[in-house]
């Protein structure tokens, strides 16, 4: 229990779901060889970290931020710029990460101290403005960031697809640089998830919840809520930065679409709501459901559509046309918010 910081899933159904997700992710390269499943699995891992670090802010501290994707972008660009500029070495990678995290933390500190004194709505506006300015900056400084084209770069040798750890297979799968990359992503995400779980279940995390519940009373007890909120913002930013760095490392590419797009921010919000706000486990459940839907709903609908066409049914083939998959995803989201406002975690724990 202590590795879970004393905060277990507290429901058999939720435990079972989480165990399945984690096991499948842990064995993904062996269960589902191939490029697409590997991408989906890595994407789930990175989303879990990105969403969990966002939930620290939104679900636990009750702070709405629109700059989470910016911190993700700082991590991704940090790695890209370092590996592109300095060559594909571990030293360059480390430098990229070690530069990106302080940049994010200092930026989060500045936004927090400057705007969390006032109202959290002002903070939300500030994050929106800063994230927008950062987007513009990233595309303007094209000598550094590659502008709209972004940067493709080489990663250290053992993470490259052509690399083989040894001759021969393990359970029929060659241990390539791609498999090693996946496990790097998986292990770092898992560790940082446990760190976040520890933070929200620490005395500090408990104060965050108190501030979310009643900031006025938290102050009357002697908690300086601006500092707590700012610290939460910094921790959340650091988590997002790490997720961005892993994403860049996995993609061998960083550009505005993969690292700074506002649609990433929207996805994070959607996953938090689907999974269940205010529970770290919601990030795992939500990310798995969302990323799977995002990747396989289109294919599933294609099958449904042609099956319906084969059966000669009216209307349905058009309704399930693969191009309408976003519509269905949106519809599912609306239904989820309406019927299960407490998310997957809330539902499986028997609350709502």
């Amino acid at each position: 229990m202590m590795i879970l910081s004393g905060d277990g899933p507290r429901s058999k159904a939720l435990s079972a779901l989480l165990i399945v997700i984690v096991l499948v992710l842990a064995l993904a390269p062996f269960l589902f060889p191939g490029a697409k499943p590997a991408n989906v699995a890595a994407n789930i891992c990175i989303s879990v970290l990105l969403v969990a670090s966002y939930d620290l802010l939104l679900g636990y501290a009750g702070i709405v931020s629109f700059a989470h994707v910016m911190f993700f972008g700082i991590g991704a660009y940090g790695v890209a710029i370092a590996l592109y500029g300095l060559g594909a070495s571990w030293g360059a990678l480390a430098l990229g990460v070690l530069a990106a995290i302080p940049v994010s933390v200092v930026l989060a500190l500045a936004i927090g101290l400057f705007s969390l004194r006032v109202q959290t709505i002002f903070f939300a506006m500030m994050t929106l403005a800063v994230a927008y300015a950062f987007n513009v900056l990233a595309s303007q400084l094209s000598w550094l960031t590659g502008g709209e084209d972004g940067r493709s770069f080489q990663v250290p040798e053992i993470l490259r697809p052509g690399f083989k750890l040894f001759e021969g297979d393990v359970f029929g799968v060659a241990i390539s640089g791609r498999v090693l990359s996946y496990y790097l992503v998986f292990v770092v995400c898992a560790l940082l998830f446990l760190v976040l779980l520890r933070i929200v279940n620490s005395p500090f995390g408990r104060v965050l919840q108190a501030i979310r519940e009643n900031p006025f009373r938290a102050e009357a007890l002697g908690y300086r809520i601006v500092f707590h909120r700012t610290l939460a913002t910094c921790l959340s930013a650091a988590g997002a930065t790490a997720a961005g760095a892993l994403s860049a490392l996995w993609l061998h590419y960083t550009g505005p679409d993969t690292a700074l797009s506002f649609s990433i921010q929207i996805d994070v919000l959607v996953i938090v709501v689907i999974g269940g706000m205010g529970s770290m486990y919601g990030a795992i459940a939500g990310a798995a459901v969302f990323v799977l839907a995002q990747n396989y709903l289109q294919a599933l609908m294609g099958k449904l559509s042609s099956a319906a066409a084969d059966a000669g049914l009216p209307l349905l083939p058009g309704l399930f046309h693969p191009d309408r998959w976003l519509l269905w995803l949106g519809l599912m989201f609306i239904l989820a918010v309406y019927f299960v406002p407490t998310g997957i975690v809330g539902r499986l724990r028997g609350r709502g």
């Binding site: 910081s5 905060d7 520890r198 279940n201 500090f204 995390g205 006025f216 009357a220 002697g222």
Partner: protein, 255 residues
């Protein structure tokens, strides 16, 4: 004895309305001062100025002789000013135990500890359970604060201040709206506190029998001004008090 808490010409204006008007008053350890006055007299506002929820327009607040007028509410709480609010002010979706545990944690100065699970701080949990015993809320420790009855919420409100172990206790109508059988728990608690002569107790209370039995001293606020200050017997006999409390029956709750 030197005052623990003192105000000098303390004033606050809301627009043109002077809610607290040049109030100078000193409170001493070992003394329970009741603050009475009709609804809207400025009692709660006077409390808010002393515990830092509001900033004074002019005048000063002193704690053990030091000027704390510029300090924030959290600073004053950590300096030993405890506050229980008239309008119940809890962490509604957290458990009763967690509400109190958070106050205990604040008292212990554990603000930013994030490397250990909170459950490992058994000392904080045990102390919180002790406080819940004192206000007879122990059986309800796992309920959400919002699900408590009004009377139990009032008790929890008081429990949060008790858990802070302040030097100055400020009770703002602690028994308002409580049923008759719930009132003694709170009054006994205040009476026990009184036995500790290092504590300064301020009590806003409408029930005159309660005031008479507990208070060492009564001050009267009227339209934001301090209009009387003295021994309970003498103050209660004053026409202005008779008028406020016996002439017109006080309303049960004030803003």
């Amino acid at each position: 004895m030197t005052p623990s808490l003192e105000t000098k010409d303390l004033t606050i204006r809301f627009g043109g309305h002077v809610a607290v008007d040049a109030v100078s008053c000193a409170f001493r350890p070992g003394e329970l001062t009741a603050i009475v006055g009709p609804n809207g007299a400025g009692k709660t506002t006077y409390f808010n100025l002393m515990s830092g929820q509001l900033r004074a327009t002019s005048g000063n607040v002193f704690l053990n002789g030091a000027d704390i007028t510029g300090q924030s509410a959290p600073q004053r709480a950590r300096a030993g000013i405890g506050r229980a609010f008239q309008l119940t002010n809890l962490f509604p979706n957290l458990s009763v135990l967690e509400n109190v545990r958070l106050a205990v944690q604040a008292r212990a100065g554990v603000h930013y500890e994030m490397t250990r699970p909170w459950m490992l701080r058994r000392d904080l949990i045990e102390r919180a359970n002790g406080v819940l015993d004192e206000v007879a809320l122990a059986p309800k420790r796992d309920q959400a604060a919002a699900s408590l009855s009004h009377g139990d919420q009032r008790k929890l409100e008081v429990a949060l201040m008790m858990a802070l172990e302040p030097d100055i206790f400020m009770f703002d109508e602690p028994t308002a709206g409580m049923s008759v059988d719930e009132v003694p728990v709170v009054l006994d608690l205040i009476a026990r506190l009184k036995a500790d002569t290092t504590k300064t107790i301020l009590l806003v209370e409408h029930k005159m029998d309660v005031v008479r039995s507990l208070a060492d001293r009564i001050i009267v606020l009227h339209n934001g001004q301090l209009v009387a200050d003295g021994e309970p017997g003498a103050v209660i006999a004053l026409p202005i008090v008779q008028e406020a409390y016996l002439g017109a029956a006080p309303r049960a709750r004030t803003s």
